[in-house]
Structure formats: structure tokens, C-alpha cells
Amino acid sequence: MERRAIFPNKKLPYLLVAPQMAITLVFFFWPAGQAVRQSLYQEDPFGLSVTFAGLANFHRIFADPNYLYSLQVTFIFAIGVTVMTMIPALLLAALIDRVVKGKLVYQTLLIWPYALAPAVAGILWLFMFNPGMGTLAMLIRSTGYNWDPSLNGTQAMLLVMVSAAWKQVSYNFLFFLAGMQAIPKSFIEAAAIDGAGPMRRFWTIIMPLISPTTFFLLVVNMVYAFFDTFGLIHAVTAGGPGKDTETLVLKVYNDGYVNLNMGGSSAQSVVLMVIVISLTIFQFKYVERRVHYS
């Protein structure tokens, strides 16, 4: 889409885009280019010598059991978070769509967790479930079950998944609700007159009509689980116990920023870039959006 009426200035538009371009070039394109470049080089930890290594860094990370394990952890985490987020969010949206009174109050009381930083969300759950002082942890242990997420990898994974999903439900809920409210009332009424009960209407009318929203949220939740939960995992488990909750972003941070392994961490960054680029392209290509690019 293009405008017909425009302004004739030739230099002004460059001035207007200059701040955005400057930030984009210095803080996005330059570091991304550096990551790609460094991923092809081998550097010793003191930065004294650099040698061209071709794809050796990539061969190395994909032959590294730690990296493959982190890949597996990330996928389990992302799938778990997506499922634990979308099902409750869909249910809540369907429920709120049914009630007449108190809609706004319920909505307020359901969306506030969106305002929490992922790290804070994780820390709130950690307060309740750490064996040292968490009252809920104590309740679980009093049943005889040995709950200790700082030693048991499965329990740690469960804790970060649940807290990550808890924060993300609000976002999904709002989009599901918006999708449901966009369905013309006449569709639902027609089905009701034909004798379809609430469950039947949900599965045969509402679900198919909000499938673009569902699809969109699926991608958003994957991106969230892959990238935005760094703070949460870093604050709650720091990737442990062992490496049982070390997702790919955590591993890049640990290898590159903490342990200064430049070549390896850059190769990991490039793999992550490929993942984001694929998810973004996938989303723009297959998910219906309001934005159309000329």
C-alpha cells in the first residue's frame, strides 16, 4: 500500500530515519555480523591469536553432547511451556466469553502477571517451592515425596516451566479473547437455534474461527520460551541442577559471557539466529497478519 499524497522534501526523510538507522546499524547489524564472523574463527581465550576455522566451530558444537543436550532441554521446555500456557488461556477466554457480569474485573485479575519480568515471575514461584523455606515445598515434602528442585532435574524443569507458563497465560488469554469476541454473534446464535450446546459450539464454530490466533500464539510462545525466559531460568535454577535446565540462550551466555569461549559461543549465536529467522519468516508467511508489506 502506498500513499498518493506525499511531501516533496529530499533530505528531510534521511534525517527522520537517521536515529533508528544509527541504532540499528551499531547495535544490531554490526554485532550480528561480528557473531557470524567470529563463528568462523578460532580464538584462544586470551584473544592473542585468531585463526580462520571455517565451519569447524559448527561441527564442534553439533558433536558436543552438552550442546545436543541443551537443544533437547530447550525443546522440552518450549513444548511444555506452550502447552501449559495455551490450554488454560483458551479455557479462561472461553469462560469469560460466557459470563455477562464482571468481565472487566476478571480480565484485570487475570492479565496483571504480564507486567512481571520473567525473572520476577520465576522468583515468586521459587519462594513458594524451594525446600529451604517454601511453604508449598514443605507441604509436598510432608506427603513423603522428596521434592528438591535444586537436586532433581525433572522437578527443576517443572518449576521453571510452570512459572514461565503462569506469566505467559495472560498474554495468550487476551489474544484468544480478542479472537472470540471478533466472531459474529449471529454464527453462535444460529448454531444455538439448530440445537448445538455450548461444547459443540466451542469445537465446531469457535475453535475453527480462532485458528489463526491459535497459530499466531503457537509461534509467539515458542519465541517466548526460546528467548524471553532467559531471566526466569537464570534466576531460578541458573541452568541447573547439572545442565538439566540449561536452554540454548543460557548456554550462549555461560559459554561466551561467563567462560569467554568466543568461537563456540558465536557459532551457537548463529544457530539461534537461524532459529529466530525461521520462526519469524514462518510467522509472516503463514500467519495472517494485519500488516501487509508493500
Binding site: F29, L110, I123, R289
Partner: protein
């Protein structure tokens, strides 16, 4: 008409109330903990009623903090978080609005190049370029500065696209009329476009404020001085299970302080927030 079965609706209300309580419990738990003393917190089960240490806990957090977070006061951390969130929100809005204006209302040779460069930033979140971005910050001398904390996060593809979408809906006649009346490009921007964009700006402000306040990885990377940190990074450092002296009452109070401002913004400006969220992400 859809059937109005009373029982169905009652069940919906009941389930929603259960959900609201379940969603709110972690917050309630932490708030209650923040009113008890450290030793009460360390000997579960915690009473589910408020204790009497509220002044002690918040006072300690706001004045001294904890040694594991460098003994900085949370008053300072709240200030840093506020500066960061405001600067990012205002910066993002200004920068995105100007570039959307250039892309929609002008024709220039590099127009599409600029557009795609902004688009590509969507695919380059900090998380995929941690180390090289850190190196850029170091070489520009921006470690431990407000500029380092905020400027790199001001570029925004989603905000630019939101303004672009909105600008495309401005009728051509309005532009033509303004030009006939002798208004230049900047005059049109200031007197016509800016007032028309008010709601979009407000909605975007809410969403970008939350974005700025909840940053974690970025302040972790670009600040080494505890006094330059944000309240969220400070909170993470305070949660220290290996130190027997961790002042848990102050930690709980800090958690509440860290979440209160953005939650207040969402609750207070719910309509704008929902608009901003649904429209920028779509």
C-alpha cells in the same frame, strides 16, 4: 437467542474465581512473606495472614538492600528502573514515529532499504548476539551508563510498523489540504499527525514502559557497578540461598517493589494496554 442457562453461567463464574485465586496466589504469598520477619520466613509453614514486620522489611529494602546485591538501596534501584523504562518508552516512540513518518510520507531512494533494515531487527534480539553486542558497548565506553542501558533498546520494528499502519489510514485529502494551506512537512507532523496519534502513542507507551521495566539480560550485560543496576537484577542477586545472612524479609519486599510499578500501570491503564498489545503484535 442463545440459551441463558443459569447453572452454566454459575459454573463459569465459579471456575473464573478459582482461576483468579490460583493466578494471584504467588503474589499474595510473597506479599504476606514481605510482612514477616526473616526468621518467620525461614521456618515454614508461613502464616497466610499479614505479619507485623512490614515497616522493617520495606525499610530495610529501601535503605540498605542486601550484601549479595552490593548493599545498594532499592530506592536507587527503583530510580534506575524508572529512568530505564521511561527513556526506552519515550525513545522508542520518538524514533519509531519519525522513521514511520519518513517511510510513509516521503519518497527517497533508500526508502525500502530502510524499511527492510528495520524489519530485520525483529530477527536479531539481544539473546542471539550477546557477546558481540557486549563488545560494542565496551568499545563505545557505555558500560555502567544510562545511555548504554537505554539507547540500544530504542530501535523498534513493531512500534515503527504500528505507526506506519496508522499513517497509511490518514486520508490523502488531509495532506493535500495541509499542503495547499502552505504547511510544510514538519508543520504537518506537529499540528496534524501528532494530535491524531495521541491514542496510539499512549497505548504504545504502556507496552514499551513494561518492556523497559522488565529487561533483565541487557542490564545484566552492560552494568557491573551494583549502583547502576535495575531493581530486577538486584532482586535476583539478593535471592541467595547459600548465604545464611540473606535478609529474606527485605528480599520479599524487594520482589513486591519490583513488580508493583508495572502492575499498577497495566491495571490503571488497562484499555490502553490491551489496545497497545493487540495492535503492535498483530
Amino acid at each position: 437467542m442463545i440459551e441463558t442457562r443459569q447453572t452454566g453461567r454459575l459454573i463459569a463464574h465459579f471456575l473464573l474465581i478459582v482461576a483468579v485465586i490460583a493466578m494471584g496466589f504467588p503474589l499474595y504469598y510473597t506479599f504476606i512473606a514481605s510482612t514477616h520477619t526473616s526468621s518467620e520466613i525461614l521456618s515454614p509453614p508461613l502464616s497466610m495472614l499479614p505479619g507485623s514486620n512490614i515497616a522493617g522489611a520495606y525499610g530495610l529494602a529501601l535503605t540498605k538492600g542486601a550484601s549479595s546485591a552490593g548493599n545498594v538501596s532499592m530506592t536507587l534501584m527503583l530510580w534506575n528502573s524508572l529512568v530505564m523504562a521511561l527513556a526506552i518508552a519515550i525513545g522508542k516512540i520518538v524514533i519509531s514515529m519519525l522513521s514511520a513518518y519518513a517511510i510513509v510520507f516521503f519518497r527517497f531512494p533508500l526508502r525500502l532499504v530502510c524499511f527492510w533494515m528495520i524489519f530485520i531487527t525483529l530477527m536479531l534480539p539481544v539473546e542471539v548476539r550477546i557477546v558481540p553486542t557486549y563488545q560494542v558497548i565496551v568499545s563505545l565506553g557505555l558500560l555502567d551508563t544510562y545511555a548504554g542501558l537505554t539507547v540500544p533498546l530504542m530501535a523498534s520494528a513493531t512500534a515503527t510498523f504500528l505507526f506506519r499502519q496508522f499513517f497509511l489510514t490518514i486520508p490523502d485529502e488531509l495532506v493535500e489540504a495541509a499542503r495547499l494551506d502552505g504547511a510544510g512537512a514538519m508543520r504537518f507532523f506537529k499540528d496534524i499527525l501528532l494530535p491524531l496519534s495521541r491514542t496510539n502513542i499512549a497505548a504504545l507507551f504502556v507496552v514499551t514502559f513494561i518492556y523497559g521495566w522488565t529487561q533483565y539480560l541487557w542490564p545484566l550485560l552492560v552494568t557491573t557497578d551494583p549502583a547502576m543496576g535495575t531493581i530486577i537484577v538486584a532482586l535476583k542477586k539478593m535471592v541467595n540461598f547459600s548465604d545464611a545472612d540473606t535478609p529474606w524479609d527485605a528480599v520479599m519486599a524487594t520482589a513486591i517493589l519490583a513488580l508493583l510499578p508495572p502492575v499498577a500501570v497495566i491495571v490503571g491503564m488497562q484499555k490502553l494496554f490491551v489496545k497497545g498489545l493487540v495492535e503492535t503484535e498483530k
